[in-house]
Symmetry: C2
Subunit: 422 residues, 2 copies
């Protein structure tokens, strides 16, 4: 009666999903030689966790909200898998700048990563594709490829503050395109799109009938003189699934509290996509109820001054790094308008001893103990990304070391030019 399997040896294979779930950043970094110069303290400008160095801390109100939440019975039991109603009400209010939002439009998730996973896997099937920015954050690939969902790049224009190459964007759309991912403000670019550009993007989405996934985890991270416009707030017909959370703005990346907000003014998504998201939320039953219970107080009580201070710090850092690196021979930093990163072009022709920017950053670590992520991590060779949230003295020191490194390695003519000017 029993059926002995043909295989008589143990043979346990990983699934396609597991094998194809990869993190390009980790893979590239693992293959780098990052042996710092033992005589200089390592300064890592590579880590996208703003809390790493201890100079940026979450608001007291947020900590207090969780202290109080611990004492509440409600914070211990299962929450509905889309999240506690009160918490979804709070997110709806907090997200009013995105357009009209009701608690029914909100699903709480375990961080913004989980929000992105949910929206991608809710609308994309194996063989279909989503369009993602280049340069861009690798998470969209990490979350798609295991499912056989393809990612197709559209280009950003480094000389136009990383605006989207609209012709390229539209040319990438095909019959299998189910979503365009817009990451604004951007990691790694630090760009912030104005309304006009967002209208142009929406026009393409509307004409081609492709919904938008808006990764706005850096919402409100925009420097003086610029304005943050959520793409959903100006969309007329294009449905927008916005992903955000506490992670960056409230400086608690480890807490894993994110959300999806569904914007669907013209009822294009219908019940089907809401049901899809609701189904997917049942898989792991949402984020920690402890944080959910604190969420209303966190979102309502954190004072504007907290956000202003953090932002002022990042903007000051951006200016510092830009000013310092603008004069580093062979580099061209691109001034950010928001978020917490800066991209820097490395004019590789001026550094012929390095095959590519990976070799450049390897040598930079080996000699100056400064580590920046190579552009390849964002599908963008010849660039490197730095994080602006490190303490000021470290950033200054790092920029100075980068400048020395460039001076020492830039090709002869350029170097002579520098020496003459010195």
């Amino acid at each position: 009666m029993s059926r002995i399997r043909s295989s008589q040896e143990w043979e346990v294979r990983a699934s396609t999903l597991a094998r194809k779930t990869t993190n390009p950043i980790r893979q590239i970094v693992e293959h780098l030689q990052v042996e710092p110069n033992p005589e200089k303290e390592l300064i890592a400008l590579s880590i996208g966790d703003p809390t790493t160095f201890g100079n940026l801390n979450p608001p007291d109100q947020l900590l207090q909200a969780v202290r109080e939440s611990i004492e509440l019975h409600k914070s211990r039991g299962y929450a509905p898998s889309k999240g506690h109603y009160e918490a979804r009400v709070a997110v709806a209010k907090y997200s009013a700048h995105q357009g009209e939002v009701s608690p029914e439009d909100v699903i709480l998730t375990s961080g913004c990563s989980h929000a992105i996973e949910m929206v991608i896997t809710a609308i994309a099937d194996c063989g279909q594709n989503i369009l993602i920015p280049r340069p861009g954050f690798s998470i969209y690939q990490t979350l798609s490829e295991g499912f056989g969902i393809k990612t197709k790049y559209y280009n950003l224009l480094p000389n136009e503050h990383w605006k989207i190459d609209l012709d390229d964007l539209e040319s990438q759309i095909d019959d299998d395109t189910v979503a365009i991912v817009i990451n604004n403000p951007s990691n790694p670019c630090g760009s912030v799109y104005d309304k006009e550009h967002l209208y142009e993007i929406l026009e393409i989405a509307s004409r081609n009938k492709v919904p938008i996934i808006a990764d706005e985890i850096y919402e409100h991270f925009v420097f003086a003189g610029r304005q943050f416009t959520p793409i959903s707030s100006i969309s007329k017909d294009v449905p927008v699934l916005t992903c955000s959370g506490l992670t960056k703005r409230f400086l608690v990346p480890g807490w894993r509290m994110g959300w999806v907000v569904i914007h669907d003014r013209n009822d294009v998504l219908g019940k089907e996509i809401r049901l899809a998201l609701s189904n997917l939320s049942m898989r792991i039953l949402g984020p920690s109820a402890l944080i959910q219970t604190a969420l209303p107080a966190i979102l309502e009580c954190t004072p504007q001054s907290f956000f202003d201070e953090v932002l002022l710090f990042i903007e000051t850092q951006a200016k510092l790094a830009y000013k310092e690196l603008r004069v580093a021979p062979g580099l061209r930093p691109i001034e950010p308008q928001g978020a917490m990163y800066m991209m820097i072009e490395i004019k590789m022709a001026l550094f012929p001893e390095f095959k590519d920017e990976c070799q450049f950053v390897e040598s930079l670590v080996a000699e100056q103990s400064v580590f920046c992520l190579p552009g390849q991590c964002f599908e963008y060779p010849n660039y490197m990304r730095i994080v602006l949230t490190v303490p000021e003295d470290k950033l200054r020191e790092a920029c100075q070391r980068i400048t020395i490194f460039c001076k020492e390695h830039v090709i002869g003519e350029k170097r002579k030019e520098i020496e003459t000017n010195d």
Copy 2:
């Protein structure tokens, strides 16, 4: 250059994954008429959240551990996606009864559901199958079917304390079977397997070279006189992926803290499956660092007396419900040995007015305001499941109402018999 899509109407479809991610319990319950009798307070014996009624509360030490964790810088930043090392050390120690466990064998997850999702999706591909118990908890289907991973049932034997029908188990194994799920102690059965039976299961797994997924979220929930044996602790060659967490034992289901422990004494899984799990953990970056940071203190400082008290309460409740319902005409409760549930056979032939057990529970709500989950929720008609963690007076009252209901609905002869005895 641009390519206008063929579809000129908006048409956004849900993915297969989202459409096929369903919760059978929810679907069945949604189709039930559950209108309680307005004259009697509703007693829900259906909810698997032991904290619902407020009579069971987590240990002080656990709350204190999180209070302290809030103040720590470490609890705010990103943790490694497999979890903080210290937390994994703590889980390894806590899981020593499962066999030798090193921190490298532990991956922290967002609840036990996430642990189960990770292990299933790490080893099963679309078209392959896993074997799951009948009756059994629906989560295994919920997590598999969206991926095209098939679930095949093996039967449990109600008259042998829900032991596995071993012949049936082995006959279900085919060339596409990649894992056997063993849920011990069991939801919904409340059964606890002895060593001998676990050896029999392992023999089948070993002979057929099929790894085991052990859902041991109710570990240690065993009543006096019985012993809990983790299946991993007695496995010689069969790799076991154990899923557990804080959820039930520490009475914090909402906190979403679970883990996978890899047991692979003979190195059958090799690097591939560890890498698979590690890859999958990158998708949502693990559970909240706030709870992770508290985990060592939670696991080390919770006193045995806390567990003993909770268990004694549940066991007393089990005895109460068994004693009360054993005499309800037409019912046959099956005495549980652990966990926090009891299955009750409804001798449907004695209740001919009801088409099936769903109609039985519907009428029970309508007349007596007591709600039990129909067996269909666990793929097991003619039974219903009750939860034992409700307060004692509620449980007693509910059992009495169930008994009245049975007396009023059992067929004539049986009723006469009762009346004669009364």
